[in-house]
């Protein structure tokens, strides 16, 4: 285990497994489902429990997985799970428990075509599920959308920082194409896992035994019988969300400086859009891309600013128009907004986007 950067040719899913070990995660708990099983498989192959001491467990269901990371996060450990669409649906039971109890944990969602079992091909149709939440109550998750294998890897590190800083569940919203495609990936050096003593110091709220200094008992619970007190907890949570919205928005701009047409797309749709933009630029079109990296908090100001400058916006998604609503709202309809999308596992080609642009930007 040489402690250095390492450059490997990896699938997005494999990169996430390597990154979890190298960023010093304490545990992974997951259940097989295509197209994300390589995460658990890679971890099983790498046997981190023999090197960094990271726990890896194949659970009996996604319901069990999410409860395992709920508990693991409650004890102050840095834990993750991964799944895809229908599996993420099962996890919706517990994500609100984590949100209101302020439990840090990472959920990797490698989307496939839906609804229901759908297909095992790539899709972005779980945007709403991740960003608006399929669970109960007033809550949000921080949602990070990678568009490459490298970014999948890096976001495992970013997610660790964010979830510990804000004590909140973080979702990496990947998809079947980013999870399965192979690219060069620079893996980070190994960060040692925190010692139990460091965890106690960093997470004085965590449930991990009273310790030798015998502090007061800690309890992680979402239950509150007093409705006034429950509302107080809710208000405090909303306050935290405001701070996150003010400080954690991330977005990438690609050739937007002089752009008359701005594509807004995330994840693999953004990758495809970049290909289309390169073709269109050669043809003389003034076109660029805004790529939301955080889907929640959403880059509202960035969208608004561009929509005031641009002649038109095209939203490109691998779904039937889910982020579209957020773009419309953020833009305050300052310019016309068009949409092109595929769903059910069908991926669009750059040519389709080129054609669309040519038809609307005449």
């Amino acid at each position: 285990m040489h402690n250095d950067h390492e450059i490997l040719l990896l699938k997005g899913n494999e990169a996430i497994a390597h990154a979890a070990i190298r960023y010093g995660y304490d545990g992974f708990f997951g259940y097989p489902i295509t197209p994300q099983s390589e995460i658990l498989e890679t971890l099983a192959l790498l046997r981190p429990w023999e090197t960094t001491g990271m726990v890896v467990l194949q659970s009996e269901s996604e319901v069990a997985s999410i409860n395992m990371i709920y508990a693991g996060g409650s004890t102050g450990k840095c834990v993750l799970t991964s799944s895809s669409s229908v599996g993420i649906s099962l996890m919706q039971e517990v994500i609100p428990y984590m949100a209101i109890s302020e439990v840090p944990a990472l959920i990797v969602s490698v989307q496939r075509g839906g609804p229901g079992l759908g297909t095992i091909q790539p899709s972005q149709s779980d945007y709403t599920q991740a960003v608006y939440g399929g669970g109960n109550g007033d809550y949000h998750n921080i949602v990070l959308a990678p568009c490459s294998v490298q970014e999948s890897c890096d976001m495992v590190g970013l997610a660790k920082e964010l979830m510990m800083k804000w004590r909140t569940p973080v979702i990496i919203l990947s998809d079947g194409s980013i999870g399965q495609m192979m690219e060069k990936c620079t893996l980070p050096p190994y960060t040692p896992r925190r010692t139990d003593e460091e965890i106690r110091q960093q997470c004085p709220w965590a449930v991990n035994g009273l310790g030798i200094k015998s502090r007061k008992p800690n309890v992680v619970t979402s239950l509150e019988l007093d409705q006034a007190f429950m509302e107080k907890r809710n208000k405090a949570l909303q306050e935290k969300y405001k701070q996150i919205e003010n400080t954690e928005v991330r977005a990438e701009y690609y050739l937007t400086d002089d752009a008359e047409t701005v594509i807004v797309a995330f994840g693999s749709a953004a990758r495809i859009s970049m290909g289309a933009i390169d073709i269109l630029r050669e043809q003389g079109h003034k076109i660029g891309l805004l790529r939301p990296i955080t889907l929640w908090p959403f880059p509202n100001n960035e969208v608004l600013e561009l929509s005031k400058r641009a002649k038109r916006i095209l939203v490109v998604e691998l779904n039937e128009g889910q982020m579209l609503r957020d773009v419309e709202w953020a833009s305050q309809f300052s310019c016309p907004i068009d949409f092109i999308g595929h769903s059910g596992g069908v991926i669009m080609t750059p040519d389709e986007i080129v054609e669309k642009i040519c038809s609307i930007a005449k």
Partner: protein, 253 residues
Amino acid sequence: MDEKIIKSPENIVYQKPRLMNDNTMHYCPGCGHSIVHKLVAEIIDEMQMQDQTIGVCPVGCAVFAYRYLDIDWIEAPHGRAPSCASATKRLWPNHLVFTYQGDGDLACIGTGETIHALNRGENITIIFINNAIYGMTGGQMAPTTLMGMKTSTCPYGRQADLHGFPLKISDIAATLEGTCYVTRQAVNTVGNIARTKKAIRQAFENSLQGRGSSLVEIVSTCSAGWKMSPEQSNKWLAENMLPYYPLGDLKKL
């Protein structure tokens, strides 16, 4: 006699366990939960494990166990305590990790989590309060409700064709390779309370020594759900529950 002498340590024959705080308990008079809480508090203290114990509460009447015992607690979603405990123990292998669950929680909505945690041989203890009813939600039928027994959702009595049969989940647990100790106890008499205490202690020792999963079923009363006085409940338990759920060790390695 002077009060100081009466209260001197050598004269104390009975006292509230040190780990039990003064919060007013919400349990009904005669409820088995409060007795078991006291035993758990005593045992953790006797084992001097207060600083290294993590309890997992269920959804059920014991949801508020964390209000009464001064240890660290995670409140699990309904039925999911064994998953919570599995991860907790694996991440904190030197800690004493236990769940405390009712029959609806453990043997109905959480059957999958229970069986798989036990089958993996997680080094945890599951304390299982079988009162044959959903106490917290107002007395509905549980997986453990006896044949013919009346509840609010089987008001004419449990019948096989409508409701199936009472589940003996401990018998299933005893067949699993991962369990090292499966026992069924009760807290309806002083003698049974003492035996229950021994059983929980044994289970906790197993968990700490890494011997596999332990399940301690405790046949209990729910006077409110059964619509009986505490005294009648104890009698009913002995006459009806114990013949179907006989006491004793089902497995001890």
